[in-house]
Amino acid sequence: MPSDAVQTRTAPGTPDTLPFWGRMTRWSPYRAVVNVIYGSPRRQFLILAIFPVLWVLTQHLGPMVQMLRVSLTSAYPVAPDTETYLTLEHYIKFFGDSIFWQPFFRTLAFAFVFTFCTLVLTYPVAYFLARHVSRKNQMLMLLLLLIPFWVGEIVRTYAIMILLGNTGALNLVLKTLGLIDRPIPFMYTSFSMGVGIVYLTALYMLLPLYSALEKLPTSYNEAAADLGAGPWTRFRRITLPLTLEGIGSGCTLVFLISTGFYATPILLGGPSTTVFAQTIAGFFHTAGDQWPTGAAFASIMFAAALLLTVLFQRIIKAMRKGDTK
């Protein structure tokens, strides 16, 4: 192989078309563009960064900032010939009437309880999948659980309505078994709402738990067993502390999602289970300048949800630190 083979093969005069990439990289407009973009590392970074940074500022942060601004404005949308001023009155309104703060605390309490229920329900499932199923079947069995979660919120809420209705499947089963004479009114209670919300959020708990458990080497448990730890001790001292991170992210996710449901409480809940989402939405459905109040209430809820999430993360972190020492 002569070292100058490349040159000798391209005999002058014989037309030999360039391949696509060879042609493109020799095309002068392309060269100009490349030179502009990659002229210097600094310029390259600026061109790469400017759009994403502008996007997250205007599209991700913007709506939240605008919501906050509107919540501090006396009236919005602004009617002609009126002046607006900065005010906290919409926030003060919240504390003035139990019709406002009751749903608020109810929402948070519900979210807590439902998150806990989801955790208790999905932990054994995740544990079983990660620990007792062969690698090949794990994916299939996980996939089996994923399928229903591709189905939308409304359709799945409706499915729960059919399950729990007075003439629903559950009452039919109970009646057939002779356990009840009259149907139990499951629907339009906090129970039906809970079943629905857990049904909708289970996946968001299951996946973090599963990935945490799956990462945990079985040798830890074996070592603990070897040292004489029983199943309960092994779970409490080994598995649980080492999956705290998964529990933390699963609970955070489910909590945040649970506080934000709007359609599900309407369809599955009753008058005694009104959640804050319904209160907030009310200000946007009625005519008039109720938007600032709605924005203020949404801001309160967002702040509360964030605060609780951060608090929760702190607790998990402290617990993990205590255990890794």
């Binding site: 192989m1 070292s3 100058d4 083979a5 490349v6 093969r9 391209t10 014989t14 030999d16 078309t17 360039l18 391949p19 696509f20 990439w21 060879g22 990289t25 020799r26």
Partner: protein, 361 residues
């Protein structure tokens, strides 16, 4: 290259990463057609040198001259240098042929020229028939050859090889070493090879540069490095050796006279090299020691006793305690036939002055 100027000139290169100095004022010339190996432990600066030659790092100080042109600040895509990566870095979504053609397309070759060059290089590296395979469908040795073909195809002035044999199993490695050397001979290409494996370096290189802590420890042919290590580091890094803590008594021409636990030893040094009186370290390779029941006809001879032996097949490894030398232990390799006759009694150990290197540290 018709003139005598080197293909590559590395001129006073210094490179730091944060507070660690990876390369300290490195000077080096590489001639056209040389197989140069940079050898050293991890963190010695060999990979940094390679990456500077490839254009992936820019030195803090100094220049790189390639073919008479200053390429210090030229990006990798604009220098006539190609590299075989440690993990081969074959593009998984392209076939073998597409991988090899990648550099040719960007070099501005026409379709027919690419086809011709592809056929040529694939035949040369015995890859015929593999053109439509994907890298994932190849064995380790085949991948290595594809990586080599891809780097050689655009006809680079300098080929960089970053520990390309590390991923191969031990059996294949020996075979690939021979292949690589033969490819280098047949293509007359300049190979810049980086490794931490001394055996690889000794087998293939025309010239080895031993690096340590960002500096050149020694630069020479494999034989020079093996038999005449210049420093303790080189002696210990390449092969196995006995290090003797001796005291220099004086010089006799090119011979140095040393005292070692009361025994007088004679060693050779390079012409013109003068050693001051005082402590020095002498190095003798394990296989350079001879054994016998009577005093051998060598310049140096001591008496000792075999205190341990390990059977290694065709040869044996011995531990010998030298008498009257502060219970010093010498290690040695002897062929099994000789080794088994030695027994427990006193034996003579002898070696030539030429086999003993005196280290300067």
């Amino acid at each position: 290259m018709t003139d005598t100027s080197p293909l590559v000139r590395i001129d006073g290169i210094t490179k730091s990463f944060g507070s660690t100095v990876a390369l300290h004022d490195l000077d080096l010339d590489i001639a056209q057609g040389e197989f140069v190996t940079f050898l050293g432990p991890s963190g010695c600066g060999k990979s940094t040198t390679l990456r500077i030659l490839g254009g992936f790092e820019t030195p803090d100080k100094g220049r790189v001259i390639l073919d008479g042109q200053d390429v210090t600040r030229l990006p990798p895509d604009r220098r006539n240098v190609n590299m075989v990566f440690q993990d081969y870095a074959l593009f998984p979504h392209m076939t073998v042929a597409q991988n090899i053609a990648f550099g040719l397309e960007l070099k501005g070759l026409g379709k027919a020229a690419i086809k011709a060059r592809l056929d040529e290089i694939m035949t040369f590296l015995e890859l015929d028939g593999y053109g439509d395979r994907y890298p994932g469908q190849l064995s380790g040795g085949q991948r290595q050859r594809v990586a080599l073909a891809r780097a050689l195809a655009p006809d680079p002035a300098l080929l960089l090889l970053d520990e390309p044999l590390g991923a191969l199993d031990a059996k294949l490695r020996g075979q690939v070493q021979k292949e690589l050397k033969s490819i280098q001979r047949r293509t007359h290409k300049t190979f810049f090879f980086v490794t931490h494996d001394q055996e690889e370096a000794l087998t293939m290189s025309d010239r080895i540069v031993v690096m340590n802590k960002g500096r050149v420890e020694q630069d020479g042919t494999p034989e020079e490095l093996y038999f005449h290590p210049a420093s303790r580091f080189v002696a210990e890094f390449i092969g196995e050796t006995n290090l003797l803590n001796a005291t220099v008594r004086g010089m006799e021409g090119n011979d140095v006279i040393m005292d070692w636990h009361g025994q007088t030893l004679r060693g050779h040094v390079a012409p013109g090299r003068k050693l001051p009186q005082g402590p020095a370290t002498a190095s003798i390779r394990l296989e350079r020691l001879g054994f016998g029941k009577v005093r051998p006809e060598t310049e140096n001879a001591v008496q000792g006793r075999v205190i341990g032996s390990t059977f290694l097949g065709s040869r044996m490894a011995l531990d010998v305690r030298v008498e009257n030398a502060g219970d010093a232990i010498l290690k040695a390799y002897v062929d099994t036939a000789t080794g088994s006759t030695l027994g427990d009694g006193p034996v003579w150990i002898g070696w030539d002055a030429d086999s003993m290197a005196v280290l300067n540290d």
